[in-house]
Symmetry: C2
Subunit: 232 residues, 2 copies
DNA sequence: CGCTATGTTGATCCATATCAATAAGTGTGG
DNA sequence: CCACACTTATTGATATGGATCAACATAGCG
């Protein structure tokens, strides 16, 4: 594995506090791989053989049941995914596919569990990471159960705006097809939802969004730190 | 705190592997309290001062937004809740209220974090617990996004049946009003959903459910271990 | 360029929410 | 122990959000 990748991974909260010896040991068993877009990296139900770290590109976590499927989340660099399955030595609950060309580190799950057992600092980092993941899903569930699709879209736009720097103009981070699935609606309904936000000053042109009247949109969306904040 | 409570808590996965000295230390700062039904123990948004452990009774975790509210989960003895908030020293994402008369242990969050920092075994137990909580929420989210309300009810009945021992007759674990909220629907819709399951052999009489034709119901519900299993 | 995937728009259908009325429990005090 | 009040559950009628189906437009991409 190239040195540069090493550095990026080491900087992750998850790995930054562990003993250097243990980190080296983890990395020795790991390997980096480049994947083209639309490759299914893991399939739900399979045993969790590797902890994955996204170095570049982006990953869609999705699930299927009875012929339907839904996007659960998107993973962007640099972060890990399917940590919980690795820790519990349990089957993946979600599938993962590359959205674009992506560079992924694969760390054997048994190595992670072994180091986890002997390195208290690593174990503590994992706790913090997992607690954040947990809280993220709880927020998503609140979003789904307490809001209509129009409200979910409005709040999503406000979140994405902040993520993009807070300007009145910004781009969607992925295609509308997938955004619809993430927000729990159909593409057709998303199209109409965008129209439904026009009265609140939202303009759409391709992936480019313009927030015409911040206050008006926020008055409608009623964002809450307990649902929409990234890391509390 | 009485000795018996001590024992019950110590037996929890979360506390069973930690050093005795640390357990004693945690318990010294903790206290037990009895609450009547319908008491709001914690409110979302407040700082997480205590880790809670339910010794008896039952607790409803719920959330509110913009005048609406929804039941997120039910906590039954003997287990903990709001562990993630405690660990992250972050505000509660959910409120909690007693459903019936309940006996609760309150462990100061700062004590939990302090012991967590010095006891690797405790940290590891927390990881396992959190990973399970995380996976439980992911399953719930899949249930919500991939299934109709009728399918959610059907699968809920099958889960509850298993939990109750697997017999063809069993009782709902809480009132229908709350079940509706947990399943993400209105009470009226739940009433109709029960009727909608009659063709598959489901009979309802008060809180008593009878599964007339197991195979038929399962054929409709299509339960999946990746959504409906309790602890994988 | 044309081909294919994605996005939009319109028409319609269906699931679920809402509103309203009644019924059935549940608990309380006389 | 019963009558009353209050909450919860059911049922019906209706409204609406969202899904589905179909047609068309648009945008990437080879």
């Amino acid at each position: 594995m190239p040195e540069s990748a090493y550095q990026d991974i080491r900087k992750l909260h998850l790995f930054s506090n562990m003993a250097d010896e243990h980190f080296q040991s983890l990395m020795r068993g790991a390997y980096v791989q480049n994947f083209p877009p639309q490759i299914e990296l893991i399939t739900e139900g399979e045993p969790s053989d590797f902890l994955h770290v996204v170095l570049s590109g982006s990953i869609d976590l999705f699930s299927q049941w009875n012929g339907r499927d839904t996007s659960m989340a998107t993973v962007r660099p640099v972060s890990t995914f399917i940590l919980a399955a690795t820790i519990n030595n349990a089957p993946y609950l979600m599938s993962a596919r590359t959205l674009e060309k992506s560079r992924i580190v694969l760390v054997p799950s048994q190595d992670v569990r072994a180091i986890f057992d002997i390195d208290g600092n690593f174990a503590r980092s994992i706790v913090t990471e997992l607690a954040q993941c947990y809280r993220a899903v709880v927020k998503t569930q609140k979003d789904l159960k307490l809001r209509t699709s129009l409200e979910r879209l409005a709040n999503y736009l406000l979140r994405q705006q902040r993520r993009a720097g807070g300007g009145t103009v910004f781009d969607l981070e992925f295609e509308k097809r997938r955004l619809a699935s993430v927000l729990g609606m159909t593409p057709e309904n998303l199209s109409r939802a965008f129209k439904g936000l026009q009265p609140y000053g939202v303009t759409v042109s391709g992936t480019r969004i313009t927030i015409g009247d911040q206050a008006d949109l926020e008055k409608f969306a009623k964002p809450s730190p307990l649902i929409d904040d990234f890391s509390t």
